[in-house]
Assembly symmetry: C2
């Protein structure tokens, strides 16, 4: 594992998602790996940390998530703009080598089977809390975060370092049609700590 | 209604939330109005548009949402930083005049009873889709968007105008402890439209 990657305390894992970044969703089952991009992922609880993510019925990743019971959410950055868009706009069904074509390289963390995308800013490995009604009716999946990590060059001690890190580390926030925004400048409320 | 406010086509309403802004949640029941801030709101579907939002059991707004069956999500901006933080860090229980104290002024749109906060960038009025298990177990509410509006100075024809509008219009993305980030610069994937 890259020496810059450190585990994040689980009760602070929500901070990786709290500012609303677009994420990459990865999963693996029976030797098949896949990664998709998703703008509709959100924190759901602090401790134990939980998340929601919307995964369409047409997404090949969905089968891997449902069969394995696990998925990872990871926070890509401006340096991964093309990779993120490619993973959101191609399907394993049409393009069996979509992950390789996107430029994404996968790795694993000891003790976990879910593949992760190298070069992201943070990673959350989640175990599905089965809610068949939500999954069927709304394509909505709930996961408990069982492990969280971040690259210390951009997230450390529970805080993002966007204001001091290189611009390539900015998180991505998707609008539509290939148009993203990078996260911007800090705004601190006067009198807050 | 302010002349800059225009309705947003419902199938494009998700674009108000897609980039992950912190929102204000308002509701009203039997003459009582309240507004809270929430970082955990997310799009759930395109058409008909749906959203999710997490509303804690301790939030006074929750009672108004549950009793009325309606809530509004609105997207505050950098010009409303202090107001947004104040609405997220005071309770109607302790501070009966919390809305007035925050500086928020409420208005309504013809045909809708849910109060909205003046000066925001966009507004989504939502009707609850009752899901008692989600509400009780996860504090998770699902709403169908029945009306959407935006201030044309910052959102028009389905697109945000962050790159050309004044900085006070930037959306807010909450981290923790009074620390927000404003949305930043556009990043457009080469070859996309």
């Amino acid at each position: 594992m890259d020496e810059n990657i450190r585990s994040v305390e689980l009760h602070k894992a929500y901070r990786l998602l709290n500012h609303g970044p677009t994420v990459l969703v990865s999963s693996s089952y029976a030797g098949a790996d896949n990664v998709m991009a998703a703008a509709w992922a959100c924190a759901l609880d602090f401790s134990p940390p939980k998340v929601t993510v919307v995964i369409d019925k047409t997404a090949q990743t969905r089968q891997l998530v449902e069969k394995s019971g696990y998925f990872a959410l990871q926070i890509p950055n401006a340096g991964q703009l093309e990779l993120t868009y490619a993973l959101g706009n191609s399907s394993l069904g049409d393009t069996p080598d979509k992950v390789e074509r996107s430029g994404a390289k996968l790795f694993k963390i000891d003790g976990f089977d879910t593949p992760l995308v190298e070069g992201c800013s943070g990673w959350l490995i989640c175990k599905i809390i089965p809610e068949p009604h939500n999954q069927t009716t709304y394509d909505l999946f709930i996961g408990e975060v069982i492990g969280a990590w971040a690259d210390t060059r951009i997230f450390e001690n529970g805080h993002w370092k966007f204001e001091t890190a290189e611009p390539r580390w900015r998180s991505l926030h998707y609008l539509a049609g290939g148009h993203f925004y990078a996260i911007g400048d800090p705004l601190v409320v006067s009198g807050s700590n």
